[in-house]
């Protein structure tokens, strides 16, 4: 029925994403976020999307988490987290609602969505490559424009001004 590998991956992902938001120290939060991303990459491997899993590890953990850690360590002492009155209540509400939604969806539609069958040629990387280049070439160009804009924007924002320091 429920696979042990899936269960452990899901548990790790959910637990560490809660920890990422709730850990008092932001460095712990960033590390927990990294573990959540790793668990998500494991789920992608489980779903036969191995290339996406590698992409997820390289981009999210290799780059984004490192950047977050660096920024947290840089601005670290100035971080405040004042308590919010409705915090506990909304935590409970959000988790309960999502759990209810998830289980209700799982129960009601278990017959509508059967488990996937073995993937034959559909999981081939050649198909992914063909689709990316031939069908989505135009979208790729737009993505590269966004990437270029992001580099220029981030560099301009992070440019140190000698006069203010």
């Amino acid at each position: 029925m429920t696979d042990l590998v899936f269960l452990s991956l899901a548990t790790v992902t959910i637990a560490s994403s809660i920890l990422a938001l709730e850990a008092r120290d932001l460095v712990y939060g960033a590390a927990a976020l990294g573990i959540a991303f790793l668990g998500m990459a494991g789920l992608f491997f489980y779903l036969d999307a191995a290339y996406i899993g590698a992409f997820q590890i390289a981009v999210y953990i290799g780059a984004v988490v490192v950047l977050i850690l660096f920024t947290v360590m840089l601005v670290g002492p100035q971080l405040g987290e004042p308590p919010l009155e409705l915090k506990r209540l909304s935590l409970l509400a959000a988790i309960l609602v999502s759990l209810l939604l998830g289980t209700a969806g799982a129960v009601s539609s278990a017959s509508a969505f059967p488990g996937p069958d073995n993937c034959g040629s559909g999981c081939d990387l050649i198909g992914l490559s063909n689709a990316l280049i031939n069908q989505y070439g135009v979208q790729l160009e737009f993505l590269s424009l966004v990437l270029a804009a992001a580099v220029i924007g981030a560099l301009t924002l992070a440019k140190t001004d000698r006069k203010t320091e």
Binding site: A20, L21, S90, V146
Partner: protein, 102 residues
């Protein structure tokens, strides 16, 4: 193999955690965490749906590639803004941050 609904359950729970973070946190970096979690929930959902059809669709994987790329961009620009704000201001509490108002 796991029934595909289990992946939807994980995805929904992650979405709930992300929305919880967005609504209750005041720290800019934590809000960025929440946004990344919501992106991840969406990615898992897309991959699971793409895997569901037989033969599996590659379109879902291509879409997730684009999503991850955009999320990484968003994190880079967002953290550059956090750096800038922490240099201008003492605090990165978003509710006290009024210096960027035009």
């Amino acid at each position: 193999m796991e029934p595909i609904t289990s992946f939807f359950a994980v995805s929904v729970i992650l979405l709930g955690i992300g929305i919880y973070g967005l609504t209750t946190k005041r720290n800019a970096i934590r809000i960025l965490f929440s946004i990344e979690l919501i992106y991840n929930a969406a990615n898992l959902n897309i991959i699971a749906f793409a895997r569901l059809s037989s033969p599996p669709l590659v379109t879902g994987q291509v879409l997730v590639l684009f999503t991850i790329a955009l999320a990484a961009m968003e994190a880079a620009v967002g953290l550059a803004i956090v750096m800038l704000v922490s240099r201008l201001n003492v605090d990165i509490d978003l509710r006290k941050l009024t210096r960027l108002r035009g």
